[in-house]
Structure formats: structure tokens, C-alpha cells
Symmetry: C2
Subunit: 135 residues, 2 copies
DNA sequence: TTACATAGTGTTATATTATAACAAATTTTA
DNA sequence: TAAAATTTGTTATAATATAACACTATGTAA
């Protein structure tokens, strides 16, 4: 009975890459990931990007578009990345996923005047975090 | 009396690139721009990226982060890109800048529980536009 | 259990997006 | 007009991402 690639389980590469992102305190870039996992046998960009694509698709991680970097999902309410919001410090680069039910509901219910029905949104807030303000 | 680089005026390259983006009905990518303006003497990527950086900085254009592409600003309320929102069709790639005072106010007033004060936000909505729904 | 379909892997090469660094010209400010 | 700031032109290269192909592993269903 070998490893099974079922509903919620991750493949070997996906698991390696998810673990790395999940334990990171900051967003990771694809090539940073690549360099970090080369000792584990993941040697080429496509292996990383494929795992990243799948992890994004299944909502285990999110891409921070303004940084081309990836963070683990910390929000059970984002429903496979249909409603994502982040706060980003422009000084230390820290990224925090925002879990705010009101915000999420407000935006999920928002409808464009021009009649487009939205399936998904991504919101990125920028500022200086508490920590950096002190310095 | 030569050309003047005053407050609101654009330099030669900036103007050429702004005009191109401004008359485009869809977001333009940096290298698409580069190829389009080569006959006007703009031959290398840094010339394009520098103009783009400046135009973004002054709020004449916005970058659509999820597409690495640029659109002209259509919203006098976004105040030099401090409060940007877009609707993006996942089928035809059309991008529309959203000018919604309520939305803008709501988000500008939003404050993170963790005490971070936001200076700026960017919001991208995704869906299928009216036109594409019909097809 | 076999066979078929689907998903994942490994690999090489290449495409796409973006910046570094430096010399020269133009424009603004004082 | 001299100094400062901005813009330009240029070459080279860095960083991000995908195409294509051969192969292996897993899941599904007769």
C-alpha cells in the first residue's frame, strides 16, 4: 500500500514545498524555494512552479502578487482563495493575511455597476507595521 | 523656449508611452510597449521601465499586478494610486478601473486589528464580463 | 487484476519580466 | 551660469516563469 494522492493529501514535492512555505515567517519567492529544496532532490524551476500552482489552486498557499512571493493560507474563511486580503509592510516586507469577516462579506457582495459578477478578489494593503514604526 | 519638465508635464519617452497606454483598450505589457515604440526611438527595456515607473509614481497609469500589465488611470479619485480597484475578466482579459466612492472610503478607512495603519491599497476583482457571458 | 485515465516527476531548453551600471544630454533650481 | 536633479541611451545580466517531452506513480472501473 504505497502513498496515496487522495483528496486532501499532497504529493511529495507539494508537501516539501508547502512545509517550507508554511514554516516561513515571510513570503517566499520561487527561486528562494528552489535553492532551499535542492538538497531534497527538487532541482529545476518547473518542479517548483508546478507544486506552487497546485498549492495555490487548492488554497493551501496564496500568491502575493505585488511581490511575486508565496505565503501559507492562514484563513479558513478565504474558501480556496476566493476572498483574499493581505497587509504588507513596505519597510520590513512582512505580510499578514487578513481574516475579517465583515470585510470579506462586504467585498464578496460588491457588484460592479457595469454588471460584472465577481467570482473572486484579491486585496493588498500597504503601510508600515507597528514594529517598524518603533524603529 | 525648449521643452519644460514641469509639474504636470511628461518627458518625451514618458509621453510616448503614456499615449500608447492611454489609447489602448486593454492592459499593455512592458515588452509589448517596447516593440510598439521602437520606431519612435525607444529601443531598450530600461527606457520603457523607467517611463513606466515614473508614470506609476505620478498616478498617470496603474500596474495590474496579477497581469504584469499597465493601464491608464481613469479615476480622478484614486489620488495618485493610493486607492485602486479593478475588475478583470478572466475570459477576455479586459480590465476596468472601478471608481466607487463608497468602496474607496470603506477600504481607506479600514484598519487592521494588529494596529497597522494603511497608506495604500490595491484591489483586484475577477470574474466573467457581460460580453463574455453572452458568447 | 488488468487496462485505462489522471496526476505527478525529472529534465533541458527557452521565454518573459525586470534591473544594474555607466556615460551623456537635458532641464530645473538657485 | 553653475550646480543639482532628471532623463536618456546603451550594454549586459538578473529574476521570474513556461514549453515540451519522456517517464513514473496513482486512482478508477471493467
Amino acid at each position: 500500500m504505497g502513498k496515496m494522492y487522495k483528496e486532501n493529501s499532497l504529493s511529495k514535492n507539494q508537501q516539501i514545498i508547502f512545509d517550507l512555505i508554511n514554516k516561513s515567517s515571510e513570503p517566499l519567492k520561487a527561486y528562494t524555494i528552489l535553492f532551499s529544496v535542492q538538497k531534497k532532490g527538487i532541482k529545476a524551476p518547473p518542479q517548483v512552479y508546478r507544486a506552487l500552482d497546485k498549492l495555490v489552486e487548492t488554497g493551501k498557499i496564496h500568491k502575493i502578487e505585488s511581490k511575486n512571493a508565496f505565503v501559507a493560507c492562514r484563513n479558513s474563511n478565504c474558501e480556496i482563495s476566493k476572498a483574499t486580503a493581505f497587509s504588507i509592510c513596505e519597510s520590513c516586507e512582512m505580510v499578514d493575511e487578513i481574516s475579517d469577516t465583515k470585510l470579506s462579506k462586504y467585498l464578496s457582495g460588491f457588484n460592479h455597476k457595469k454588471g460584472m459578477k465577481f467570482k473572486r478578489f484579491n486585496l493588498e494593503f500597504f503601510g508600515i507595521c507597528k514594529k517598524c514604526k518603533k524603529d
